[in-house]
């Protein structure tokens, strides 16, 4: 399999990239790590006359800590995010999503922006982006906009990015004290795998009342996009963080929130059952971490 012919652009600044995107529009694809795009080009699943590589724009691969949030550049790689001390400390579910994507070789190339723009329902970092209430930062020539991650995905492989826009990164609010999160992915083997089901959960509890005061649960591979489990979240809110309420929330996620399909990776029935198991387990670990936090 050979790569098809295309024009290759390597802008040195965001402005230059936006100018190219404005000029080429739908006739150009953005190249970040290339771990999906180059494969799709080889397999002729994607056709384009132009590739705009973002790899030489330094600002896009930064991870910076602000007062109450962090910025992760769209071109930050899985390996880079995983190595970041602030992420290891405060965004454990995201770190674990990054650590479980593909294998070492892929993680050295694949970027968080690419993972989001590829918009696979099974994407490894996406449930974590959802539970940390991330904001996607989009730019077009002369214009910027911010999209809450919950509104970012519109279908399998589809997001709300416009043809002239580039995703420059994400802003993630730093989780409060007494909160914790966890991510679990389930596949057929332990590495180089595409998930059958993946779940991330976040919860914050009030140490005084011992009640859950915030929770976000995200499910992957069980709908057209990664989704929030709204009914499960509602079921857990205000409850005591304990096995019974985690189980009740998990049952809600399994029965009400997910809409899986059969495909060659697994049946809808199994996926649904696993949503229950993984939701329960991620909540339990999230709470353990919240207590330790």
């Amino acid at each position: 399999m050979l790569l098809p012919m295309f024009e290759f652009h390597e802008p040195l600044s965001i402005e230059e990239a936006l100018e190219l995107k404005k000029k080429l529009g739908q006739n150009a694809r953005i190249l970040a790590g290339g771990t999906d795009l180059l494969v799709h080009l080889k397999k002729k699943l994607v056709k384009t006359d132009n590739l705009i590589s973002l790899s030489r724009i330094k600002a896009l691969s930064l991870i910076t800590e602000q007062k109450d949030s962090i910025f992760i550049g769209a071109c930050a790689t899985m390996a880079q995010i995983s190595r970041s001390p602030v992420i290891a400390k405060k965004f454990t579910a995201l770190k674990s999503g990054c650590d479980n994507l593909g294998n070492h070789l892929i993680r050295n190339r694949a970027t968080i922006g690419g993972n989001a723009c590829n918009a696979s329902p099974a994407g490894d970092t996406l449930p974590a982006l959802l539970i940390y209430d991330s904001v996607a930062l989009l730019e077009s020539y002369g214009k910027k906009r911010e999209i809450p991650i919950a509104d970012f995905f519109t279908g399998p492989g589809k997001s709300c990015i416009q043809p002239d826009e580039i995703l420059t990164g994400f802003r993630l609010p730093i989780p409060t004290d007494h909160s914790g999160a966890h991510y679990i992915q389930l596949g057929k083997r332990k590495s180089s795998e595409i998930n059958v089901v993946n779940v991330a959960s976040f919860l914050e509890y009030d140490p005084g009342t011992k009640k859950v005061i915030t929770t976000r649960i995200a499910l992957g591979s069980v709908a057209a996009t990664p989704i929030r489990a709204a009914r499960a979240e509602a079921a857990l809110l205000g409850q005591a963080p304990e096995e019974a309420s985690f189980f009740a929330a998990a049952e809600m996620a399994r029965r009400e929130d997910c809409r899986p399909i059969d495909d060659f990776r697994g049946t809808a029935g199994y996926r649904q059952a696993m949503v229950g198991v993984l939701t329960k387990r991620t909540l339990a670990t999230a709470y353990e971490r919240a207590k330790g936090a």
Binding site: L2, N103, R189, A273
Partner: protein, 786 residues
């Protein structure tokens, strides 16, 4: 036991420096002056009649040098077994699977060749297709081959003893079924080749193959050439596992393109084409009934198997026989019947893969042995030992176990895994299981009926006397055979390993049937020892005469001549040697006469010292139809213990450890033996846990790459404790026999028995995906609840 100097050590492999530095040359590393690139047109339809082929636009494309179809390639049928030749290089009137070859192009670049393939216009009449056993066997089903009504490629019916009568005497009878999934060998190097004619009309084909000899014969037959005008060379090869054990249509197309263009032509399979060509392990559907007495004596096996064969026969006729013949051992079972059927359908063709034909039958039967042990309350190891064949025993289908360390293997894994402490004492979700298996050390007969030697080897001593050159046509494909034969030659000659140079994988060097059926260590090993002994004898004869010492008192050890009696005065020989080396500063001055001096003197007396060696097995097997398949001069055997953790909520199985003991006869190279054991376990785990070629309803492979075809990763591999059990095989060189394939036999059933121990469920379909295990556990819980 005899003491050895070279063999049975952990000598470094002779190919390691090349491979570690990237200097090892594989087929695709080779470029020839003026070389063209070839590409194949393969059918996009699973079953279609070809109405017309128009190559004119492809031929008109600038840079295209040749476009060939069946018109140029001819209609000669080939395949693996001559009785079952059912393939032509290119489809003539119809295509039978997605990937069936229709035409090929040679052009000055690969891009042009691929573009030209797109320009070939084929008019098809789409025919209804069948993709499963059930569809293919249905009355009125579309037929693949006119010569095989009912899409039945082959059937085998055998009975040894009296199964029905024996089952009547049994106290316990277990019947169960098992199904695996079609596999891919997933070797790292995809098939590739370069064909080239010289000005005298000699064709040289360089190919990534396991079997230069069979490829040479097939190419000669299909192209209508003398075998002597065809040379097949195998550079370094990135594994084969059975899939590369026959000529493939790309090799043949490449030779024809070279003939048409008179230019070197290179062709490669992409990974997708590897999956389309297939020829790996079949999907087997087994039903086995095993009967036993309540004291644990195994009495009878009734075995039925259906093989999902794909579009052509390939190795299938051998596979369907192997499936039956390699089941009864390693146990003493007097009654065994087998009904095997191989069925054609419109998917790529299945063939041979590590543990040819026998792996899934073993996986089912070894579970039944455990079921019987459980029912009578006997330890599974005890039951196996009770029924185990002894050295010298012959199975009911006439396979003779001339050495058999099976019970020793069981004891080794019992101790190595701490079985006695763990079995029966593990918490829910943790399990331990074991299984046994055995395999041939080389097929007893060649694939084509012949009295040929299975291997010939030449050992030539260099004129200076210092170095032995070993020439063998055998195939080093990563398993370490070159190193093994260099070690055998060094041992036989009595010289250090680094004084041996070895060249292999070239049909000009002799006959060798190649790397399949775990044959080379025993067979090529014999021929190597024979050739080295011959060369050594010639040196010692000259020496005996020169020194007036009886021949039988002379020997060579560690590069020095030894004398059984007093050391004679050899100063005249040394002076003669040294006189020829005036100015040299490293002339021998040791107390002992060196091999180098002796061998130089032998050259001066006789000219080139060339030892020739050969091997073919003695007459093996019974007289019944199919008796040849499964015969071997020796059988390797092994036992494994698997320990697993089953996540009872998700169905995920983690293999915590494998303890593996294998009787390989005398281990030529201990490290290589362990490498084969670990490789076998890895392949067995892959098949047990996640590997399956998946098709859509059009007969197209959905996971034709190594991202979606899931072999084990390093993260999935457990710790393996590999224990080499040595026996002394009378039919093996220095007592050696196989390890390459037998070691996979117990892996799958050991895992299945461990999963049963952990979770209480028997799973009759592979792979053990979390989903399949989860539903089995749910089903078990439902049944328990009722």
């Amino acid at each position: 036991m005899k003491e050895f100097d070279i063999i049975s050590t952990r000598a470094h492999r002779i190919d390691t420096p090349d491979k570690a530095t990237g200097q090892a040359v594989f087929t695709d590393d080779i470029t020839r002056p003026g070389m063209l690139y070839g590409a194949l047109l393969q059918s996009p339809h699973a079953h279609a009649r070809i109405l017309s082929i128009d190559t004119s636009k492809a031929k008109a494309l600038a840079g295209v040098k040749s476009v060939i179809t069946h018109e140029q390639a001819g209609h000669i049928k080939y395949g693996v077994s001559p009785a079952r030749y059912d393939e032509t290089v290119f489809a003539i009137d119809k295509v039978r699977y997605i990937g069936d070859e229709i035409a090929a192009v040679a052009a000055v670049t690969l891009e042009i060749a691929l573009a030209a393939v797109e320009l070939i216009e084929v008019e098809y009449e789409i025919l209804p297709a069948v993709f499963t056993l059930e569809e293919a066997l249905k009355e009125g089903a579309p037929q693949l081959h006119e010569t095989s009504p009912g899409n039945l490629c082959a059937e085998v019916h055998q009975e040894f003893g009296d199964v029905a009568a024996a089952l009547k005497e049994c106290d316990i009878i277990k019947t169960s079924t098992m199904k695996n999934k079609r596999q891919d060998g997933a070797f790292i190097e995809m098939q590739g080749c370069i064909a080239e004619f010289d000005n005298r009309g000699v064709l040289t084909l360089v190919s990534s193959t396991q079997v230069p000899h069979y490829v040479q014969r097939t190419v000669a037959m299909v192209l209508g050439m003398d075998v002597g005008m065809v040379r097949v060379k195998k550079p370094y090869v990135g594994a084969g596992f059975g899939i590369k054990a026959a000529a493939n249509p790309m090799e043949l197309a490449c030779c024809i393109l070279a003939r048409e263009t008179r230019k070197p032509v290179k062709m490669n399979f992409t990974r997708k084409q590897v999956f389309m060509y297939a020829r790996a392990r079949h999907q087997f559907s087994h039903t086995i009934t095993t009967g036993a007495k309540k004291d644990g004596t195994l009495m009878a096996i009734k075995h039925e198997c259906w093989l999902d064969g794909g579009a052509y026969t390939s190795f299938g006729i051998a596979t369907v026989y192997y499936t039956g013949s390699l089941l009864g051992g390693p146990y003493k079972i007097a009654n065994m019947s087998y009904d095997g059927y191989r069925v054609y359908n419109n998917k790529p063709t299945c063939g041979a893969q590590r543990g040819h034909g026998a792996v899934i039958a073993r996986a089912l039967f070894e579970q039944q042995v455990d079921m019987i042990a459980e029912e009578i309350g006997m330890d599974p190891m005890e039951l196996r030992i009770k029924n185990m064949m002894d050295t010298g025993d012959t199975t009911c289908n006439d396979l003779n176990m001339s050495s058999f360390g099976m019970s020793e293997c069981i004891e080794a894994v019992r101790k190595g895994s701490d079985w006695d402490k763990k079995k029966g004492n593990m918490p829910t979700g943790k399990g331990i299981g074991m299984a046994c298996g055995f395999f041939v050390s080389g097929a007893g007969y060649p694939i084509y009926r012949s009295d040929t030697y299975h291997g010939t080897v030449i050992v030539k001593l260099t004129e200076d006397g210092g170095t032995a050159l070993v020439y063998t046509a055998s195939a080093e494909i990563g398993q370490g055979s070159d190193t093994a034969f260099a070690m055998i030659a060094a041992e036989a000659l009595g010289i250090p390993l680094d004084h041996v140079r070895l060249a292999s994988g070239d049909t000009d060097m002799g006959v060798d049937l190649g790397a399949y059926s775990s044959r080379q260590t025993l067979m090529t090993g014999h021929a190597t020892k024979d050739a080295a002994d011959h060369a050594k004898a010639q040196v010692l004869e000259v020496l005996a005469e020169q020194l007036s010492v009886p021949l039988k008192e002379l020997d060579i050890k560690n590069g020095f001549i030894t004398f059984a009696g007093d050391t004679p005065d050899f100063s005249a020989l040394r002076t003669r040697y040294i006189k020829e080396h005036r100015g040299w500063i490293d002339n021998p001055d040791s107390e002992h006469l060196t091999f180098k001096e002796a061998s130089r003197i032998a050259f001066l007396e006789k000219g080139s010292i060339v030892g020739t060696g050969k091997y073919k097995p003695h007459n093996l097997g019974g007289k019944f139809k199919g008796a040849a398949v499964g015969t071997s001069p020796a059988y390797g055997c092994s036992a494994q213990v698997a320990e697993v953790t089953v996540d009872m909520e998700t169905g995920q199985v983690t293999i915590d450890s494998i303890t593996d003991a294998h009787d390989c006869g005398k281990a030529i190279n201990l490290t290589s033996v362990e490498g084969q054991m670990e490789g076998s376990v890895s392949m067995g785990i892959g098949e047990a846990m996640h590997e399956e070629v998946i098709f859509n309803d059009k007969g197209q492979v959905l996971n034709a790459d190594l991202a979606e075809y899931k072999i084990v990763t390093s993260m999935d591999m457990p710790r393996i404790k590999a224990i080499v059990v040595e026996s002394d095989e009378p039919n093996g060189p220095y007592g050696a026999k196989e390890v390459g394939e037998g070691a996979i036999m117990p892996t799958i059933p050991a895992i299945l028995n461990a999963v049963y121990n952990a979770a209480g469920v028997r799973i009759n379909e592979l792979p053990l995906t979390p989903e399949r295990v989860y539903f089995a556990i749910q089903d078990y819980k439902d049944r328990m609840a009722k």
